[in-house]
Amino acid sequence: MKPESNLEKILTSGHFAVTGELGPPRSAYVDEIKHHADAMRKHVDSYNITDNQTAIVRTSSIGVAASLLQMGLEPNVQMTVRDRNRICLQSDLLGAVSFGVRNFLCLQGDHANFGNEPQSKNVNDLDSMQLIQALKNLRDEGVFISGEKLEHPLPRIFIGAVANPFADPFEYRHLRLAKKIEAGAQFIQTQCIFDMDRFEKWMEKVRELGLHKKTYIMGGVTPIKSIGAARYMQKNVAGMIVPEALIERIKGAKDRQKEGIKIAIETIQRLKEIEGIAGVHVMAIAWEEVVPEIVESAGLYPRPKVD
């Protein structure tokens, strides 16, 4: 079967991919997010749409995906296992595929404690590994988790997962990636990279197992907008490492925002040199307007067209 996803086509044809990220609003007013999407339409190959990120209630990822498809843009629907059981996850997948979504990113999801409904039940019927495998089985075997057959084969979907080299235990992180690949992850987007040394150490282990040849690994890049944002990520986001030296560098800069953008560009340039990195995932949530500049300055513009 031929790939239907643009992202899959870009990656399988050997191009260095660029994906963007959109965070849906806490309302049904999606004009602004559509505007952000439109502003980077020539700069990214596909758009991740987050799934109630940090456990805050927002317009659904699938809802925004419908808007993007109407605009002729390609969504990558994030699916966490936090809020939906296997009945709902499989059903939502079918629903999204039915109107044209082809990329899915499987995640565990931040605990509901962090969000604006901390009294809710955390579902976690499946874990992220099992969701990846479920999607693969739906597509390749035509079966639901129960083993029952789909009434009609699923179109070719592109299955993604995340990896966090900055979480612990570090010695297990590449093995966890291997497991996700075995489960069916065709592409990987990593947590935001600020600690390049640790990232490269992780990539060494990834290459030792040859994992970079079994999946497409995209490095996560986030431009730092302010010292406050950097401190927040450093102190409050579990599984993130923001080195003090990086914060000092921004502090010392004349134009801090420009420095944040510059660091993001440098990160992409280093990532391009690392064996086994197939692309970058630019997460500039609440600062989407700088994505075109970053992509252009990193030498990733214009984006390739693949049929």
Partner: protein, 227 residues
Amino acid sequence: MIIAERKPLAEIAEMLKPFQKICILGCGTCVTVCLAGGEKEAAETAAALSLLRQKEGQKTEISTFTLLRQCEYEYIDDFIAKNEFDYDVILSLACGVGVQTMTTRMPDKIILPGLNTKSMGYPVEQGVWTENCLGCGDCVLDLTLGICPIARCSKSMLNGPCGGSQDGKCEVSKDIDCAWHLIYERLSKMGMVDRMNKIQPPKNWSTSHHGGPRTIIREDVRLETGE
């Protein structure tokens, strides 16, 4: 054991407001060990409640008793046989199991809960009790060599630590150990870390409460009616 915590006095006082003759009933097993609802706590609760109601000008008669277990008919029946019951209400300081077992045995009495039942776990040290079993009905401790990912991982994951595990702690709180970090360390020490590389399939949650309230029936040990 079952771990519980006494409800705040204000909440207890509020639920007992309509009543005058009150029996506060301690339980002598799990909740005694976790210092929530034993003989001592029954006496303390009675004293505090009397004082509070006195201040508020409410008529009050409080008695306290303690059963060895409020979750077994044997002890309840013995208690009923030996005591006259003319109370308006019983405040049970047992876990939720005890409150309900009492209710089935004394269906014409009002029995209210004095505790919040928290979990199944064990006393780690003096003054610290921690949850370590969810009663999922399909034990996986063989996979992890004795550390439960269902009860002790905040997301009940079966395939290793999520991206929020840092320095051995869970993303939910620095007071919570990451269960999968502990499992990784334990399996590494035992030379069995490859167990974590095998994909565990979706769990059958129907053996847990998700399958509906559970009853075990053992025909081989049941007594036939009249035997």
